[in-house]
């Protein structure tokens, strides 16, 4: 167990290391000159060169990378020879010269928005997906099953930007049931928070719920044909116990682990939903950083998102061993 954890964590760091290299070098060979972007339209070549030096972009790529990585562990100082050096304490993910702010604090501001978006949508789609999936499975082939399957097929086929725009148009603009979204922290103004988040949650939940309905239904139907469910019936257990304790316990395990990975993926930012509803989350930040060629910010967000997914993978694997005794961690 301990050996397994050590091995996995080491592997995790190796993966992040390789990822940071590829992200860093990939963005450095992209066209576009970050130094050129740091000052306005009319910019003297001398200023650009000065900025290039301040950003450290005149140094070899390898040196830049080493400084970047060491910044994460020990912090670093940007433009040390200028009159106003910028101190970036560990863990320093870089400094955005477009936004004149540390990457970490930009991310720290956007992350809660994405977190709430992801958690809310996650709870919605898990609840709806699993409930309707089980319901459909228990009424297989009859009209409730067909109705649920049809609706979920439609939900699954609609792109989220389409659902999002339709909802914005009708619910907010035409019928004015909800105010225009404007994000506030749930601790500050819960009412406005829920009014803002409701539609984005629905948009994100629809797509995933549709998928989980089908996944759950198939899992449950498959498990119902399994021998141990028949054994449970043959013991004379009430049908409810057969379904919940025997069939669902086995059938939902893979769903729980799939859900863990999907949640992690969402925690990295929901680009489309955040943009439609003007939510200042990681997805919006990522898109903006790309359009601005804000290299330090792009690198930071990519590494963070990757870390979340890698960690979630580990957690899901450990979780699997907890719920399924056949899975042994060695």
């Amino acid at each position: 167990m301990v050996a397994y954890l050590v091995r996995r964590v080491l592997g995790m760091f190796l993966l992040l290391f390789l990822l940071s290299i590829s992200v860093f070098f990939l963005f450095n060979i992209l066209p576009g000159d970050p130094a050129r972007l740091t000052c306005g339209r009319a910019c003297a070549p001398a200023t650009i060169e000065a900025n290039r030096h301040r950003l450290g972009l005149d140094e070899p790529v390898l040196t830049q990378y080493v400084k970047f990585v060491s910044g994460i562990f020990v912090g670093r100082t940007f433009s040390p020879d200028s009159p106003e050096p910028i101190d970036c304490e560990a863990p320093c993910l870089g400094y955005s010269f477009n936004r004149h702010e540390e990457v970490l604090s930009l991310i720290a501001r956007a992350a809660p928005v994405t977190f709430w978006l992801a958690i809310g949508a996650f709870l919605m789609w898990i609840f709806a997906g699993i409930t309707f999936g089980i319901f459909a499975a228990l009424r297989r082939g009859r009209w409730p099953d067909r109705l649920i399957m049809t609706v979920s097929m439609i939900g699954y086929s609609l792109p989220s930007f389409f659902i999002g725009l339709v909802l914005v148009f009708f619910v907010i603009i035409k019928w004015q049931l909800l105010p225009f979204p404007s994000y506030v922290s749930p601790f500050e103004n819960p009412g406005q928070f829920f009014q803002t988040m409701l539609l984005p949650w629905i948009v994100l939940a629809t797509l995933n719920a549709a998928f989980y309905v089908r996944l759950t239904r198939n899992q449950v139907l498959e498990v119902f044909g399994d021998d141990y469910v028949r054994t449970a019936r043959a013991k004379g257990l009430p049908e409810r116990v057969v379904v919940v304790k025997h069939a669902l316990r086995a059938g939902l395990t893979p769903i729980v682990t799939a859900a863990g990975l999907d949640l992690a993926y969402l925690l990295g930012g929901a680009i489309i939903s955040e943009n439609i509803f003007s939510l200042p989350g990681l997805g919006s930040l990522a898109i903006n950083s790309i359009t601005d060629s804000d290299l330090p910010l792009i690198t930071g967000i990519t590494l963070l998102t990757a870390s979340i997914i890698i960690v979630a993978n580990l957690v899901v694997d450990l979780l699997y061993a907890v719920v399924d005794p056949r899975v042994r961690i060695t």
Binding site: Y228, T231, A234, K235, E239, R249, A250, T253, P325
Partner: protein, 350 residues
């Protein structure tokens, strides 16, 4: 042992005209087509037949495991004076696991992979009896010991995947017998096991049967294991019983050509066969389109000996052919006995 009998003097188990059909998109699958049999308390009946003969469905119908919404069931099943098919679901559920218990073919997949074996047996106890966890646990340990699980105190908390196939089938047997059922249905209990383990499991079932006075229905496709354990044998084909009788009768004086075919296809260690093994030609009939007359006619070598082509058009009935011996065949008794003698003589290698 026969289908008939007055309602006053009913045998322990009596099945009358049992039919089970499953509606499918391709048509009605007639899995069991008028099965009648009876069994005295404490005896063992072997139901023999190949895949698709309806033997497992018959067993599951007796057990109450057929989903009544998904299947059409008709006929009567009397167990100890109680008719089961008309019973409401909750009463069937009470009987399952207490009065009637079942052992399944594949012990690998019949135990729940997520629960400890002890807990699974305890659950079976507490589904029917109002006793505490500790008492149920000690009873479970006791039963596991009786079915021959070594180091029980440790194994009781093992998960199924930590046990071998034979051990798992012993656990299944312990689970089935834990509430002292009057009727035990063993559906191919040894098919998934190694040959050496097969004998042990059969012996175990047989010993426990003597100990508990349990009545046993043994479902199998393997005639080789029947002779030692069964008092009576029912040979099933195409959803019908085609021959029924005391075990010795079926082995020594079989009459139905299908039974002869089964006996000829059993590998024998003690005799050198004149030729290679003699399988029955052709395939079992589709349960959606059963032949109009005799279900075995398309594969039968002798149907032309029956005048008027009755085998093709007239459904034969299961009729007495001597004491405790019933056969479903249009051939005249003397004729089929003659055929059987010829076949058995070849088998005996004389």
């Amino acid at each position: 042992m026969m289908p008939s009998g007055s309602s006053f003097d009913r045998p322990f188990l009596q099945v009358t005209d049992l039919a089970v059909a499953f509606p499918t998109e391709d048509g009605l699958v007639q899995a069991v087509d008028g099965v009648s049999l009876s069994l005295e308390r404490g005896k063992t009946l072997a139901i023999v037949g190949e895949s698709g003969s309806g033997k497992s469905v018959t067993a599951q119908a007796i057990m109450g495991l057929i989903n009544r919404k998904a299947a059409k069931i008709s006929g009567q099943i009397w167990l100890d004076g109680q008719e089961l098919i008309a019973l409401p679901q909750n009463e069937v559920q009470e009987l399952m696991g207490s009065e009637i218990a079942m052992i399944f073919q594949d012990p690998m997949s019949s135990l729940h992979p997520f629960y400890r074996i002890g807990d699974q047996i305890i659950e079976a106890i507490r589904a029917h009896r109002d006793i505490g966890k500790a008492a149920a646990r000690s009873e479970t340990i006791d039963m596991l010991r009786r079915v021959g699980i070594p180091a029980v105190e440790r194994r009781v908390d093992a998960y199924p995947h930590q046990l071998s196939g034979g051990m798992r089938q012993r656990v299944m047997i312990a689970m089935a017998l834990i509430n002292s059922p009057a009727l035990l249905i063993a559906d191919e209990p040894t098919t998934a096991l190694d040959v050496t383990v097969q004998a042990q499991i059969l012996e175990l079932i047989s010993n426990l049967q003597d100990e508990f006075g349990t009545t046993v229905i043994l479902i199998t496709h393997d005639l080789g294991i029947v002779a030692d354990v069964a008092d009576e044998v029912a040979v099933m084909y195409g959803g019908r019983i085609v021959e029924l009788g005391r075990t010795a009768m079926i082995y020594e004086r079989p009459e139905m050509p299908y039974t002869l075919g089964l006996l000829s296809s059993v590998p024998r260690m003690d005799k050198v066969l004149p030729e290679r093994l003699d399988p029955i030609r052709g395939n079992p009939p589709s349960p959606i389109r059963l032949p109009k007359g005799c279900v075995f006619q398309p594969r039968c070598d002798y149907f032309e000996r029956v005048s008027g082509g009755a085998c093709l058009t007239v459904r034969p009935e299961l009729l007495p052919s001597g004491p405790d011996h019933f056969v479903r065949c249009h051939l005249r008794v003397e004729e089929r006995q003659q055929i059987a003698q010829d076949v058995l003589r070849v088998l005996a290698g004389s």
